[in-house]
């Protein structure tokens, strides 16, 4: 469970998140909002990539401020741009990087990489240069690189923004099928129909919080 207790984040003098207080217990949670509403800041709070100026964020009881490493071993993070996330030259090497902290033996490491590649239907790309793949393939490789470490929670920060519609759907379907808890920050509200809960951020505050069929129309309302 992620608990956000009266969290405020300022970037220079601007208040990006303003006194947020909520618990995240659902299996599938979507976060939507306009540009500059604080969505990405909110996502980065959840695994301690960003620390609050006031308040606390805890994951399964671990404070992101004092137990950052333990939090990050539980919470995986998928970034918007896979090029920033894929570090090693080939797909298999990049997946191995995610297992470095575990210091696994060679055979166990290779088996786990092989199983993960198979699970994401990426086996045929194992030795390919990761940076020469298509956008959709890159995002799946980045996702596999996170999931190989078997996090309990996955936070995705606009994972489909740079993708065409077909690849966006493929990536979102893959994310939706994951066994862990998933929190997705996105502009593509159509991907959140099957989610358990949707948070709408507006100027750093939660303006709507509820099931997708309630929260999404309230968010889209003023435009339609």
């Amino acid at each position: 469970m992620i608990s956000i207790d009266h969290v405020t984040v300022r970037l220079q003098s601007r208040v990006v998140l303003d006194d947020l207080a909520l618990s995240l217990t659902e299996h599938r949670i979507g976060v939507i909002g306009d540009n500059g509403s604080g969505k990405s800041t909110f996502a980065k709070l959840l695994n301690g990539l960003l620390l609050p100026d006031h308040g606390t964020v805890t994951v399964d009881g671990f404070d992101t401020r004092s137990d950052g490493k333990k939090v990050r071993s539980r919470v995986g993070f998928l970034f918007q741009n896979p090029d920033n996330q894929i570090v090693m030259p080939t797909v298999a090497e990049d997946l191995a990087l995610g297992l470095k902290p575990l210091r696994l033996d060679g055979d166990v490491l290779r088996q786990r990489i092989s199983d993960t590649l198979e699970g994401f239907s990426l086996s045929h790309l194992a030795d390919r240069s990761a940076h020469l793949l298509s956008g959709g393939e890159k995002q799946l490789v980045a996702l596999a690189g996170v999931m190989i470490a078997e996090p309990d929670i996955l936070v995705c920060d606009e994972p489909t923004t740079l993708l065409d519609r077909r690849n966006a759907e493929l990536v979102m379907k893959t994310i939706a099928d994951l066994p862990c808890t998933v929190i997705v920050v996105t502009h593509h509200v159509e991907h959140l129909d099957s989610f358990d809960r949707v948070l709408v951020l507006d100027k750093g505050r939660i303006s709507h919080d509820g099931a997708p069929d309630c929260a999404i129309p309230l968010y889209l309302g003023p435009l339609s």
Binding site: S73, T90, D127, G145
Partner: protein
């Protein structure tokens, strides 16, 4: 593209461990320096070329592609040696250069960067008592190699944008956005590494 130099394959040279291949490169380098007969050097060059293109299965085209950028330098050295020393010395030193580049390219084409960095980490492990984390040193080097093409990509993108705006020779105008992008990308990379557990490397379990 440097980061993409490894070429997947299932030949026996691909199957050799990175320390063996690096050892082969070191040994060949030493041998090349010791050889003083042109005929022996020619034989060694042909052997390395054969291993590169046939045994490793990389083909003659790649052998040529790895030699082509060298030709201007080889020619310059050849002419200088011909003028200053002798024809034999000119041929010997030119063949040494070509052979050494072929061996290095062979190792690079058939060895994953992660395997290279593992060897480097093992070599740096003697520094562990001094508080140095060898995995981090090795990763730093691997990451530097991997980022070279990314830096070129960013500079090329910025140059294209400036060209489109009619600022082809405005180098200062190019420098600022390129630097801004590089700093932004390095921030994003830093976040990604943190999120992927880089800070836990070397932790005692």
């Amino acid at each position: 593209m440097i980061a993409g130099l490894y070429l997947p394959g299932d030949g026996w040279i691909h199957g050799l461990s990175a320390p063996v291949k690096l050892g082969f490169m070191f040994f060949t380098g030493l041998t090349i320096v010791v050889i003083s007969h042109v005929s022996v050097m020619v034989l060694l060059t042909i052997s390395v070329g054969f291993i590169f293109s046939v045994v490793a299965g990389l083909g003659f085209k790649r052998l040529w592609l790895s030699t082509r950028p060298l030709l201007i330098w080889v020619l310059a050295i050849l002419l200088a040696q011909l003028w200053l020393v002798s024809a034999e010395a000119a041929v010997l030193i030119s063949l040494r250069l070509v052979t050494l580049v072929w061996v290095a390219t062979l190792v690079t084409y058939t060895t994953r960067l992660s395997e290279m960095s593992d060897v480097l980490a093992a070599m740096c492990s003697v520094l562990r008592p001094l508080g140095v984390n060898p995995e981090r040193i090795a990763f730093l080097i691997a990451l530097t190699i991997r980022l070279i093409p990314s830096v070129f990509d960013i500079v090329r993108d910025v140059r294209d944008v400036q060209k489109a705006r009619g600022l082809e020779r405005a180098y200062i105008a190019m420098f600022v956005p390129a630097l801004t992008r590089l700093l932004r990308e390095s921030d994003a990379l830093s976040d990604a590494l943190t999120a992927r557990g880089f800070e836990r490397w070397g932790d005692k379990r």
